[in-house]
């Protein structure tokens, strides 16, 4: 759920209209079917929003956590974030690595 929340939240920083999400949903959305739905919707939302960007949009400035960054930088952050957790998930699946109890 953390990945889905991050996808929606980071996407909203770029100006895309996304559903409101909150960190508390990490605790409340615990059913596998619901979680998969959120995950798929968030992944699709990134792909769709990215496809709708026009050339000038990439360098548009946005603000996050007190910093001014570009829209392109935000997409880079989204993919880096997803890849980090993808790696953790793979390691977790094969029992190499545990981050929490």
């Amino acid at each position: 759920m953390h990945i889905a929340i991050a996808n929606f939240y980071l996407l909203s920083v770029t100006g895309a209209q996304e559903p409101e999400v909150s960190v508390s949903m990490e605790k409340t959305v615990t059913q596998k079917a619901d979680l998969l739905d959120w995950l798929k919707r968030s992944l699709d939302a990134v792909a769709t929003a990215r496809a709708q960007l026009k050339p000038g949009d990439y360098q548009r400035k946005v603000s996050i956590d007190g910093k001014v960054v570009t829209v392109d930088g935000m997409y880079l952050r989204i993919i880096v974030h997803a890849n980090e957790h993808m790696g953790q998930s793979i390691a977790d699946q094969i029992g190499l690595y545990r981050r929490s109890s």
Partner: protein, 274 residues
């Protein structure tokens, strides 16, 4: 090295051919070029011992994978039978895979592959463990430019690096052609460490697109964000689908606590599971 057709046992005639063949190689290249003997893990113990005796006069660099990857008493029997260097490890994983070989002195050189043995971090731990018994590391590398540069960077980061194989100088020069800039520099068998950001790899996307394997999808890093995101999406969904339902229940993390704890992967998200 000949393979048994129906078994992993070499006949006396085949062992004779091995001896004659390697003696001919040595005679042809002289004493200043190393000759390695590769058995592909196909032999049984008596045949491996027989090969070691057959090639000993030729003074090979090492005997690679004389037996299958699993540690066994056969490894020790072979060890006791020859003073030639024994090398193995291209199919082994992590320190735990190599440990019986190192702890028992069954090999003289370990041969990890960065892709299989635990990545850069896992293989670094392995190299450090091997260094405790003063065992050198030869790196197995049959990959392309990324693997070759990763091996080069890794090699200079460990104290017990010995040699690394590569597909450089292949007649088709396909590894060299993968570089858009900063191509590999090799002279007399020694590669200059590539300098640049990260692994110092600059891939040539046009060459890669033109040389896809049959059925291989044209996607990935060189296709840009869309291909990368598509790949990540499929992977994340597959991983989530493969996860048992009970694992999605909220678990209190051990390491981070408190309402102000922030995710280490991305600072604006105040969470504790990252």
């Amino acid at each position: 090295m000949p393979s048994g057709v129906f078994a992993n046992t070499l006949t006396t005639a085949q062992l004779r051919d091995v001896r004659v063949g390697y003696e001919s190689v040595r005679e042809a290249v002289g004493d200043d070029i190393d000759v390695a003997v590769h058995c592909h893990g196909e032999l049984d113990t008596p045949s491996a011992i027989g090969v070691a005796k057959a090639v000993e006069p030729m003074n090979p660099l090492w005997i690679e994978d004389p037996l299958n990857p699993v540690f066994s008493e056969g490894r020790m029997e072979l060890r006791r039978s020859t003073n030639l260097r024994l090398l193995t490890g291209e199919k082994m994983e992590l320190v735990r895979g190599f440990r019986p070989f190192l702890d028992n002195g069954a090999v003289d050189v370990i041969h990890p592959d960065l892709c299989f043995s635990g990545g850069i971090t896992g293989t670094k731990k392995l190299a450090d463990y091997a260094a405790l018994s003063r065992t050198p590391v030869a790196l197995h590398n049959v990959g392309g430019l990324v693997m070759t540069y990763a091996n080069a960077q890794f090699a200079v980061s460990i104290q017990n690096f010995f040699k690394c194989e590569s597909a450089l100088a292949h007649p088709g020069r396909y590894v060299e052609a993968m570089a858009a800039s900063n191509p590999p520099q090799v002279s007399k068998g020694e590669m200059t460490l590539p300098k640049g950001v990260g692994l110092a790899v600059d891939l040539n996307p046009d060459f890669l697109k033109k040389n896809l394997a049959p059925g291989e999808q044209n996607e990935g890093l060189w296709e840009g964000y869309d291909g990368e995101w598509s790949h990540a999406s499929r992977q994340l969904i597959a991983l989530a689908e493969a996860t048992p339902p009970q694992k999605f229940s909220w678990r209190v993390p051990r390491r981070v606590s408190g309402p102000s704890a922030k995710c280490t992967c991305i600072s604006p998200l105040p969470t504790s599971i990252c």
